[in-house]
Amino acid sequence: MEKQILIKNGIRNDGRGILDLRPIKITAGVLKKADGSAMIEWGKNKILAAVYGPREAFPKHAANPNRANVNCKYSMAPFSSLEEHGRSGPNRRAIEIGKVAKHVFENVILTNQFPKTQIDISIEILQSDGGTRIAGITAAAVALADAGIPMKDLVQGVSVGKVDGQLVVDVDKIEDNLGTSDIPVIVSLRTNEILLFQLDGMLEKKEIETAIDYSFEAAKAVRALQIEALKNKYVVEESG
């Protein structure tokens, strides 16, 4: 197969620059029955996040008398992607992403305020185009804030990848499949902590440092959109 050129004169295959994000739209409170919810449209990704709880822990023996349990489920709809996804049940990849997302939220939710309870987070990918885990966690953070669950910070992230030997911000599906590496990063801007860091492929130490700088820079733009989404929910109510 002929090698595809993905970056030409600093312009990527979809017309973005090296450091540009895809268009992002976040809406908070889209589900009436959930305690908190959010919908994110990140480029061609379309993701729904719902939060239930804190509620009584189930099964009861799993209840922790010191803090709340956080459960997180990531799931891809069978119609979410170009390729055949087959049956939609949890697979190896979905379980892994659910686990890393759970660790992100365990570190930001003030779980000690709700002993013996659980908080359930669902991330449903309706349409996927690369970078769904960071988009899903970004949406889930908005859903948690919408649910009024106390957190240290509103978390967000971006995936940085290496395409055609160059570091780019927010890789889409083509760049992810044909690029050399890809790093999803979730950060907390309040404490400057990295809450999730995964790496596919190989990078030099210096490149990783640059990638982290890029993701903190991009996270600021994503955070502004998250805040706007949460505020919009209350502005609409005021005028209506």
């Binding site: 305020q113 910070d153 309040r190």
Partner: protein
């Protein structure tokens, strides 16, 4: 001027112990979505956590030899001992009760149970209860005056409405819940009640 803050937003440059905030270093940071106006921080959403001396409205969910378990619209269920009441209750009964004690895992013990009947029960967000009550319970008396109803407002966000124009009282309470974070709410609710009560 009041503004909406989200988790992680800086509220105050000094350390303060507040509901809906936490202290990081020497700063106070918001932990929930809230409205900050001068020195006050009012959360916009959140579940009810039992606090001693709160009056709550519960629904009997379990009956045992020694007492009852009561659902409180909260992650935590209340316990009521049979010793506290001469009345006996059935599952599904709506009762008002006082929280006598809360243990280290937030589980409340209830006393002074009273059965509520002949009315309607509605649920609102627990953080909006202070708005429904109003300063010196001004809002509650206003609704009672215009709709000619009797209200029992539980701190857990359950409100029991009896007699009079129940529909009007519910509409007013839902309006308060929806606009709780805005200013000049009392006047708008009064205008709403006056208009709607005049129609009937």
């Amino acid at each position: 001027m009041s503004e909406i803050s989200v988790p992680g937003d800086l509220l105050f440059e000094d350390a303060r112990r507040l509901d809906g905030a936490y202290v990081l270093g020497n700063q106070t940071i918001a932990s929930v979505i809230c409205v900050k106006s001068e020195d006050r921080v009012v959360p916009l959403k959140g579940k009810y956590l039992p606090i001693i001396d709160d009056y709550v409205v519960g629904i009997i969910s379990e009956q045992r030899f020694s007492g009852y378990t009561i659902d409180l619209n909260s992650p935590y269920e209340g316990q009521l001992s049979t010793r506290e009441s001469r009345e006996s209750f059935k599952i599904g009964d709506v009762v008002s009760a006082l929280i006598q004690e809360v243990d280290e895992v937030n589980e409340p013990m209830l006393i002074e149970p009273r059965k509520l009947s002949g009315g309607r029960l509605i649920e609102i967000d627990a953080v909006k209860v202070p708005r429904v009550i109003g300063r010196n319970s001004s809002m509650v008396s206003m609704i009672e005056k215009y709709a000619k109803t009797k209200l029992f407002v539980g701190k857990n966000g359950r409100i029991y409405i009896r007699e009079g124009n129940v529909e009007l009282a519910i509409a007013a309470i839902l309006k308060i819940q929806k606009e709780a974070h805005t200013q000049g709410l009392t006047d708008r609710v009064e205008a709403f009640l006056e208009f709607e009560a005049g129609k009937a």
